[in-house]
């Protein structure tokens, strides 16, 4: 019975190749647009989470006028330098809800020829740091000593080799995992070494670097368990004048802003294709049902129940939906993976390939939706088939 059922589906699909290819194409388009939208969103969100988790902070406090620059450092790694008075750091530490605070100094490195990446140097306060310290604890053999740096995954150098910034040689002791955010374009060193580099830059570099003592670029804040980062952030802005706080939600909002045009285009295409495809597939199924009236009536005359015939029609459309969705999802995933560098740079967003579970969930979602559309599109032809009387149809065919 089962093998007959599948043989019937196979022969029916093989008998109408061109029409079925068109149907498969429609399902592929539906699944591909929906999958691409989800893939882009998840890729950006997971990348942002990885970047924020690497920074280790719940709140990033920056000078009010440099909030966009601070955001860019995390999102895209656009190098920048800005400072504010370190006295703010003391005040931030005392605000209720703040568990830990650590200051950082951001230094935009010099641009060289075409092959030098724009690198953001982040000088950390080794005593209070919680950005690099957890990574050092996970890699017990690595120590961030004098003139040592830990580099992001996009900075091209190997562990054990040197990199020169402002005429000062730094020794690479570690490479961080890829996050897809600006952290990948950063190098981390100690504040003391950054000051030495700045002092030497007058004689060693093409441009003198100034890092004013008593000034920092940002304060990273970890809130106490149970405290709301939003409430603590509002308190910081209220108590420490001239500062702006950057939270995960704010960064996510900025990424959504960057993505909105692309997502609207993808959602719009998906809706248009879905809306057009339901009546289109319904018409195709109705045409097929009409063409196969006699065949279906013979099935019925041979003892097939109405339910069996409806199930057969539904299975045929679902088979096309499954084939189309798999082709659409695979193609979309392949193109998005192959073009990930282009996507990241043209949309100016943080992006990593989403986790396997997320890809599987998105693929399943797109497949289920395509199956739903297939089911709806089969309703009318199934109704027509159920209403037809086998005897009348076969007699009608004879005349």
């Amino acid at each position: 019975m089962n093998s007959l059922f599948f043989r019937l589906i196979r022969s029916s699909l093989a008998n109408r190749p061109y029409r079925n290819i068109a149907t498969v194409f429609v399902f592929a388009l539906i699944a591909a647009t929906l999958f691409s939208t989800q893939f882009l969103m998840k890729g950006a969100e997971q990348s942002l989470d990885a970047g924020i988790s690497r920074m280790g902070a719940d709140i990033l406090v920056v000078p009010e006028e440099s909030s966009m620059a601070g955001q860019s450092i995390i999102l895209t790694g656009q190098p920048t330098s800005f400072f504010f008075d370190n006295s703010g750091f003391e005040s931030i530490s005392r605000i209720p809800g703040v568990a830990k605070a650590s200051s950082q100094v951001y230094i935009a490195t010099l641009f060289a020829s075409c092959c030098a990446a724009p690198v953001q140097m982040i000088a950390i306060d080794a005593k209070n740091d919680f950005t690099i310290t957890p990574w050092l604890q996970e890699n017990p053999g690595v120590k961030l000593g004098k003139d040592d740096i830990i580099i992001g995954s996009n900075v091209i150098q190997n562990v054990g080799k040197d990199l020169m910034f402002f005429g000062h040689n730094f020794h690479v002791v570690g490479i961080l995992d890829r996050t897809g955010t600006g952290v990948d374009n950063s190098v981390f060193t100690r504040i003391e070494d950054a000051h030495v580099m700045a002092e030497e830059s007058g004689t060693r570099a093409v441009r003198k670097l100034t890092i004013p003592y008593g000034m920092v670029s940002a304060v990273l804040v970890k809130v106490e368990p149970g405290s709301s980062p939003q409430v603590v952030a509002a308190d910081i802005e209220e108590h420490v004048q001239g500062t702006k706080t950057i939270l995960r939600e704010g960064l996510l909002h900025a990424v959504h802003g960057q993505l909105v045009a692309t997502l609207q285009l993808l959602y719009g295409s998906f809706l248009a294709v879905a809306i057009v495809s339901i009546p289109l597939l319904g018409t195709i199924s109705a045409m097929v049902a009409n063409e196969r009236k006699e065949e279906v009536s013979i099935f019925r005359a041979l003892g097939a129940t109405r339910g069996f015939v409806v199930f057969l029609m539904l299975a045929e459309t679902c088979a096309l939906a499954i084939i189309g969705s798999i082709i659409g999802i695979t193609t979309a995933a392949g193109v998005l993976v192959i073009y990930q560098d282009y996507i990241t740079h043209s949309l100016n967003i943080p992006f990593v390939i989403p986790s396997g579970v997320a890809i599987l969930a998105d693929g399943t979602g797109a497949l289920v939706l395509a199956l739903g559309i297939a089911g709806i599109a089969t309703l009318y032809p199934a109704y027509l088939t159920m209403r037809a009387e086998p005897y009348e149809v076969i007699r009608g065919g004879e005349s």
């Binding site: 092959c115 091209i156 282009y342 740079h345």
Partner: protein, 139 residues
Amino acid sequence: MTCKLTSGIGAFLILLGILVMLTPWIIFPVCEVEGMYLKTVSGVQMPMKCGWTARAETGMGALIIVGGGLLIARGTPETRQAVGVFSIATGILVILFPTVLIGMCALADHPCRQLTLPALEILGIIVIVAGGYLIWKRE
């Protein structure tokens, strides 16, 4: 497989070969076409890795064109099988040159990484699929 279909696939392979040749120089040019060179300490400008990949891909494109031409000139089952195997091998090399054998620039914001590399990968996959089809339908 009909003679018409064989010639059609031959023409398709020739088109793919032309695309493989033109992609790194004209369609999605590599860094040196955009004026980005590697500068040595003595000031000499040299092509970067993507430049050498582009040169290798020019050769690979020419080989794919030869395969397509052969299929049009003599579409026997033996030729189809031979061109099929040859196309799969060249398709794999079209992908391997920019990814493993020579590579592209390491920086993700370079034009060779953003457009040339993905385009060559897609072309390589299509050449492999075309070769696979020729082997599958050799009779």
